[in-house]
């Protein structure tokens, strides 16, 4: 086996040193009736070339070469080449959580830079070293708000990503957190402020909203914050499209921001690994979940970095920890850090502007197709939009699919009231040619029976 660095003779020599007659002696403690006598029924040993052939075939089977208008919490952005060149350095790739600070300063400083960039972007005081993803980050943020306020109810906007809300429901259920949904304005696609106000009580720990929301609409965060804070609830803002922070005002009125950073240079990879992160006001620091890297000095007074405030964490506090999280998404956070360094202060704004321009053009062009209408057209949007069509989404999308175009996602899957409505996304990698092509397919093809 090519990964195993021992010759048969070396194995014999080692057994002799241990004083064992055969390798079986070392497994003698396992009751005999449970020991496997034959091979596991898994595929035979494969050569490296065969492994590559297998996964290439899988990639081909997945079908490449489609133009996609899919977004909804996973976004296709250009990934600068330097990202993979750097994260594949063995020193980053094959090191562990930086418990031994003296020989993990590389990871620690990079995470400190990540925390700093996220805090800058979100307008929060502090950010952690990452969470699993945006969905679990949102659930952990609600749990954090419960600890901070001592209250046990949460209200979540229906315009938060439906799968985030499902994850929140799973987490909340067993901690006695009552999780109450509230609706949106059918004209604007924004949070219904009156419904929000009615949903909050003196027992409400947190208000969870997303901006840009699941329909791509930017929420009125100052107005939402005023309503939440008037009743003593914390405001949690979830951001599923991190690139939006290039042009969209950061939610500075929020108490906690939870973000999915996949858009910062992380491959779609059929849904993961992505990179969640929680940022917050400084006063809530000690209730934050996850790892934190802090600056300190060494014995000679030189600047260095360490994992800090570990007394919040499971390996110290066990059942009293702020979360059970242990592993985070360090390498993915590194991708985001490199991405943000590549684009920088000006680039992130320019990138966000390109996204808005493409989506603006796509919304205008596609909504001009026969039987199509742009919903929520008066509200501020980032790079997603909702089309309402005379035909069923399945029929529309089939026509596009025949031209190798994947159309918008059918919203009735999560919103029964949104019949014949689809959610579309155009990022900077979408071309005018492909938008025009989609429009011409929709304009030209006859309606199928």
């Amino acid at each position: 086996m090519r990964y195993l660095p021992k010759s048969p003779d070396e194995r014999k020599k080692m057994l002799a040193e241990i004083g064992a007659k055969s390798i079986d002696d070392l497994f003698a403690i396992i009751p005999e009736e449970y020991r496997l006598t034959g091979d596991l029924n898994v595929p035979r040993q494969h050569a490296e070339s065969e492994i590559i052939d297998y996964f290439r075939a899988a990639g081909d089977m997945n079908a490449t070469g489609y133009t996609s208008f899919l977004g909804a919490g996973a976004y296709r952005h250009y990934r600068p080449v330097v990202i993979d060149a750097l994260v594949q350095r063995g020193e980053f790739l094959t090191s562990y959580t930086p418990y031994q600070a003296e020989i993990t300063q590389g990871t620690l400083q990079a995470i400190f830079e990540f925390q700093s960039m996220i805090a800058e972007l979100t307008g929060m005081d502090v950010a952690n070293a990452s969470m699993y993803d945006g969905s679990t980050g949102a659930a952990e943020a609600v749990m954090m708000a419960v600890r901070v306020t001592g209250r046990h109810k949460a209200v979540a906007a229906r315009t938060v990503h439906p799968e985030y809300r499902e994850v929140l429901a799973t987490y909340a259920k067993h901690q006695g957190i009552e999780n109450i949904p509230f609706g949106y304005d059918r004209e604007t696609g924004r949070v219904d402020l009156a419904a929000l106000d009615a949903a909050i009580t003196s027992e409400t720990a947190a208000v969870l909203v997303q901006s840009p929301n699941f329909f791509g609409v930017v929420e009125d965060i100052p107005a939402i914050a005023a309503i939440a804070h008037a009743k003593g609830a914390l405001l949690i803002v979830s951001i599923a499209e991190a690139v939006s922070l290039g042009t969209v005002r950061p939610p500075v009125e929020a108490d906690i921001v939870t973000m999915e950073a996949q858009s910062f240079g992380v491959a779609l990879s059929y849904g993961g690994p992505f990179c969640g992160v929680i940022a917050a006001k400084e006063q809530y620091l000690r209730q934050m979940p996850g790892r934190l890297v802090g600056q300190t000095v060494d014995g000679n007074g030189y600047r260095g970095f360490v994992l800090t405030l570990a007394t919040r964490e499971q390996h110290i506090r066990r059942e009293k920890a702020t979360s059970n999280i242990c592993t985070n998404q360090a390498l993915v956070a590194l991708m985001a850090t490199i991405f943000l360094t590549v684009y920088g202060k000006e680039g992130i704004r320019e990138l966000a502007e390109h996204n808005m321009a493409k989506a603006s053009y796509a919304a205008k062009t596609l909504s001009a197709a026969p039987g199509a209408k742009l919903l929520f057209d008066k509200a501020p949007r980032f790079h997603e939009f909702v089309l309402k069509t005379d035909e069923a989404p399945a029929v529309w999308n089939k026509r596009l699919m025949n031209s190798n175009i994947v159309g918008g996602i059918d919203l009735s899957r999560w919103y029964p009231e949104m019949e014949h409505a689809t959610l579309w996304c155009a990022t900077e990698v979408m071309t005018r040619e492909n938008i025009d092509k989609a429009a011409s397919v929709l304009a030209a093809a006859p309606v199928e029976a």
Partner: protein, 545 residues
């Protein structure tokens, strides 16, 4: 680079040494301190659609102040992160014997295949018909892991080990609830990982500690007394965190099952068992795996991981939504050939790819779905994560299983156990072995003899750094006072093991002859011991310009 840094910050003294110093000790500022306005590391293509007016579109929601991100050119970005990387120790540099963490070789082909375009670029909401390749990979990995664990069903959705624990205990809870009583408590041995009690707590259970017996194992009498009608499950790590196999495992399972409680296994130490014994055969009802431990996906400085949960058939209805199912719809072409039927002598692919050209009008993928996600799961515990889990990690883990095959997986386990026992045999004369029970894949010593001379496990660990090794796991498990928890994995050659053993023996001698040398280690690193107290007392968690 700032030259006016305060004395407490890496500053002028180091900068002046310039190129004389190797990269490992070279000064490298924070990326923000290397920024100058107007530098660019990117270039966007010309906009092919009409430009927009941000303010007009967003109104008061437009960003006024840009975020203070650094501005650097590409070469500076490459150098910055490359220099930072050289400050890390890594498996690629040498032995990394962190107990419980299974720091094994991360094969490079795993990285290569995870980046194949059709897999890396796949959007999670693309129609199932256009995701058949990803689904085949997920399906094959699921079947392999079910076979390896001896369980009946699996979910790959959890993002890490602790997330897997959470999912597993939710299954336990849902099953008890379906029987009319969720029960109140989870029993956890005092040798367990900290994630176990933290998980039980967030699943709404009371944690009850189970004291280990004189051998560091489960005390059957104590367990018998403790398990009652309110016990939902025992969370057991097997082999235990002492690296010892619970050979009374079937009796443990019987005690639990007799009271209607379940046996949860923390699979963190599965690297000691693969191909030799299967948890499903010895009474485990539900368990998690760490693909980033046993199945070679890289730790990446702390993640991403992946924590699949395997269970017995009676827990299957409760698995998180969605689950992968194979459905034959409008089958015009033969069903994919399963890999079980492919013999050694046949170079056939593991599954049959579609015959038609990908983009032809007759493309069968547009009509014919064989694998799809099932969302209609009324008894499910719900979702634990958006989408389907860390698919990029599934690809890597499957590549590892394919590279090994059944014989390679078994040999891997045998070598991991051989290595740990070799270290034990070569060090037990100098380091106290608190439990004499046979070791599996890791060995736990205590610092009893060295502590008598004023040197603790943490000091010995730091001194190992000077010898070119990453430290072992320090002060864990908690049941061993001053623990040195050493897990070499199968990836170490005899030569590397002998170097490690010689380093440990040399340090034991230093403890006797010059303890201060050990207590002030490390001496060879870019920074010396860092002030953790100051870091926690006045936290500085971000750069401020």
């Amino acid at each position: 680079m700032t030259s006016d840094a305060s004395p407490s910050i890496n500053g002028a003294a180091r900068v002046t040494t310039g190129k004389v110093r190797p990269h490992q000790t070279q000064n490298e500022s924070l990326v923000f301190e290397k920024s100058s306005p107007g530098k660019r590391g990117y270039k966007l293509p010309p906009l092919d659609v009409p430009a927009i007016d941000i303010k007009a579109l967003l109104g008061s929601a437009a960003r006024e102040m840009p975020a203070a991100l650094p501005e650097l050119s590409e070469i500076e970005i490459i150098r910055h992160f490359t220099r930072l990387s050289t400050w890390n120790y890594a498996i690629d540099l040498g032995m990394y014997p962190l107990g419980s963490c299974t720091m094994k070789y991360n094969p490079r082909v795993n990285e290569f295949v995870a980046r194949i375009e059709g897999l890396a670029d796949a959007h999670p909401y693309r129609p199932d018909s256009l995701a058949q390749g990803a689904l085949e990979v997920i399906d094959l990995l699921q079947r392999c892991l079910i076979e390896i664990t001896g369980m009946d069903a699996i979910t790959l959705q959890p993002a890490a080990g602790a997330h897997g624990e959470f999912t597993g205990i939710l299954l336990v809870r849902a099953w008890h609830e379906s029987n009319g009583n969720a029960r109140r408590k989870i029993i956890i041995p005092d040798s367990a990982h900290g994630t176990n009690p933290a998980t039980a707590a967030i699943c709404g259970y009371t944690v009850e500690n189970l004291k280990s017996n004189a051998d560091g194992g489960i005390d059957l009498d104590a367990l018998e007394r403790q398990v009652d009608d309110e016990t939902a499950a025992l969370m057991l790590t097997n082999p235990s965190t002492l690296g010892v196999f619970e050979n009374q495992i079937h009796k443990i399972a019987d005690i639990l099952h007799a009271k209607g409680a379940l046996l949860y296994m923390d699979g963190a130490n599965m690297n000691a068992l693969v191909g030799k014994v299967r948890p499903g055969d010895f009474g485990v009802d539900v368990m998690h795996l760490n693909l980033h431990k046993t199945f070679s996906t890289p730790h990446g400085g702390g993640g991403p991981g992946s924590g699949p949960v395997a269970c017995k058939a009676f827990l299957e209805p409760f698995l998180p939504t969605p689950v992968l199912v194979r459905r034959e719809i409008e089958v015009n072409s033969p069903a994919p050939e399963s890999w079980e039927t492919v013999g050694d002598d046949q170079p056939a692919p593991l599954f049959r790819a579609p015959v038609a050209e990908p983009n032809s009008a007759e493309d069968p993928r547009k009509e014919h779905v064989t694998l799809c996600w099932d969302y209609d799961r009324p008894k499910s515990v719900g979702r634990v994560r958006a989408f389907y889990g860390n698919t990029g990690m599934f690809i890597r883990a499957l590549a590892y299983i394919l590279a090994n095959g059944p014989d390679g997986l078994r040999q891997t386990t045998e070598d991991a156990v051989l290595n740990a026992n070799y270290i034990r045999a070569k060090l037990e004369d100098l380091y106290e072995l608190p439990y004499k029970t046979p070791s599996m894949h890791e060995v736990v010593f205590s610092d009893k003899r060295q502590a008598a001379l004023g040197v603790k496990t943490g000091d010995i660990a730091k001194r190992l750094i000077d010898y070119g090794f990453h430290p072992y796991t320090v002060s864990f498990p908690l049941i061993v006072h001053g623990a040195l928890m050493i897990e070499p994995t199968e990836s170490e050659s005899l030569e590397e093991l002998d170097l490690f053993i010689s380093a440990m023996r040399s340090i034991a001698k230093e403890v006797e002859e010059s303890p201060d040398l050990v207590k002030s280690a490390p001496h060879s690193t870019r920074v010396s011991r860092l002030d953790e107290v100051q870091a926690a007392r006045k936290p500085i968690l971000r750069w401020r310009g």
